[in-house]
Amino acid sequence: MRRTEIIENIKVRCGKDLLELNDRSEKRVYVTIKKEILPKIARYLFNDVRARFVIASGVDIRKAIEILYHFSMDEIGLIVSLRVILDKSNLEIESLTSIMKCASWIEREIHELLGVNFKGHPDLKHLLLKDDWPEGNYPLRRDS
């Protein structure tokens, strides 16, 4: 019941900005959305559903960079992964740190490993790489 309700609510909140909804299994749902709507959906999941933010994972898919934000609804064992696709010509997305503090470290990690700029992040410095790591050199990029 709660599972269908959450998925319906995501659909309603996304409207035409919902690009794809992959109801893969009982425990896994992947939702591809436009990047503009990410803060709204993240706020719904984190504040209203009180889902736990697990982590975000970024991947270079050649033409674009894809970021998945994984949220866990522990009481029903469901993981909802929000997928946003960022074109390589404009690698910028709204930071979620104002909604959830726990997004701070992973945004710093994705920033340094994939070169995505998180707008509004209060402290977008290196997390894992050393401070004098050469600028513009992103270890997880595949564009050579």
Binding site: Y30, R50, V54, H70, S72, D74, G77
Partner: protein, 390 residues
């Protein structure tokens, strides 16, 4: 206004992985903390992209030296999710036993170190003494005391021998009176209670804000546990309960870990009794295109693995999130407002893994002169206990 900074790390006996805490102190009180990680960054996620799916199992086993099976567990769960398969039932029971034995030895290791930092060296020696039989069990059933290499996508690599079971059960049951002893030593001792209760508290709201996991969350009364929330392996085939405690301080975290020792023993004994006969692996030939998510409740909390496959021999993307990634960040909340002598145990309370090398110093912010080293910090903490004892 803080005029001194106490650096803890990057190498310190409280931490297995090097990490750097900068404590801003005003007199004795910690007013702020900066956390720096990345000293031991090995880019395992990148290496995984150049290994075959079978090799990655061994690669991720090297992420942590203490809970070495947690990552293969979550990884094989992710592969099983990607393939949409469930390994044979016997393999599920074997996985569960290995995972729970690991929880017992990891919790005992933490308990020992926590005792040491509080000046209870007897607890430390007991805990590590009684951790040995657990490692002996590992050696008998897997061939190794650590890095067991038991897991593979779709099952496990080695079978258990039925003739070992009576000895394993006997050894495990002999540990229960020892757990009772720890429970008494920690829960009934007024000094340990005074040193740890209400220290480094995370409220339910903090647990939610920082999305912390494992005993760190359960000690604040938040009953999240992947083993119950999304049952995998044989966790839904045995009777056990999620341990939670109220209070959210160091004491509550210790209580959760001690009580989990009983639950883990209980799970293993049930698994040994109910283990079905049969195959231990599926024959997996090809990886389809797709993605999979696997989770495992490691001793320190939820381990999360995400795999993206293009149908080739290696993952296109392998994202790994260890529980400490979320838990360490919560130190920003837990340590502020407490004294320097409590900081060691608070930073250790999330069980951020430990290290043998130490390089800690208290440096006077103005003169740059060294005031204290790591041993002094441990001594400060032990002296506080000593004062309270009198």
């Amino acid at each position: 206004m803080a005029n001194k900074i106490i650096p803890i790390g990057p190498y310190h006996p409280l931490q297995e992985e090097p990490e750097f805490f900068r404590l801003h102190v005003d007199g004795e009180t910690v007013v702020d903390i900066d956390i720096e990680i990345g000293y031991n960054h090995r880019m395992i996620e990148k290496i995984a992209e150049s290994k075959s799916y079978d090799q990655v199992t061994f690669l991720v086993e090297r992420i942590c030296g203490i809970c070495s099976t947690s990552h293969p567990f979550a990884y094989t769960n992710a592969i099983d999710d990607l393939l949409g398969v469930t390994p044979p039932e016997r393999a599920l029971y074997i996985r569960t036993i290995v995972g729970e034995l690991e929880r017992i030895h990891s919790h005992l290791l933490w308990l020992g170190l926590a005792g040491h930092f509080l000046g209870y060296n007897t607890v430390w020696m007991w805990a590590w003494r009684y951790r040995e039989p657990v490692l002996d069990i590992f050696e008998r059933i897997t061939g190794n005391r650590n890095h067991y290499a038991m897991f593979k996508p779709g099952g496990v690599r080695r079978d258990f021998y039925e003739e070992d079971f009576p000895w394993i059960k006997k050894t495990l049951k002999s540990l229960i009176p020892k757990f009772d002893m720890f429970k008494g030593a920690v829960m009934d001792d007024p000094i340990i209670r005074a040193r740890t209760e209400g220290i480094g508290v995370l409220t339910r709201q903090d647990v939610y804000d920082y999305s912390v996991v494992g005993p760190t969350a359960r000690a604040s009364g938040v009953g999240i546990d992947v083993r119950k929330d999304e049952p995998y392996a044989a966790y839904d085939k045995v009777e056990w309960k999620v341990i939670t405690a109220d209070g959210g301080g160091v004491f509550a975290k210790a209580v959760v870990r001690i009580l989990e020792l009983y639950e883990s023993t209980n799970i293993i004994l049930q698994c040994l009794d109910n283990m079905p006969k049969g195959d231990i692996e599926l024959n997996i030939k090809d990886m389809p295109v797709g993605e999979g998510i696997g989770r495992h409740e490691a001793p320190r909390g939820e381990v999360f693995h995400y795999i993206m496959s293009d149908g080739g021999n290696s993952p296109v993307r392998h994202k790994i999130r260890a529980p400490s990634f979320m838990n360490i960040a919560s130190n920003k909340k837990a340590v502020i407002g407490h004294t320097i002598s409590d900081a060691t145990i608070i930073l250790a309370a999330v069980d951020p893994c430990y290290c043998c090398t130490e390089r800690t110093a208290v440096v006077d912010y103005k003169t740059g002169k060294k005031v204290m080293d790591g041993q002094d910090l441990v001594r400060l903490s032990q002296e506080k206990t000593e004062r309270m004892r009198r």
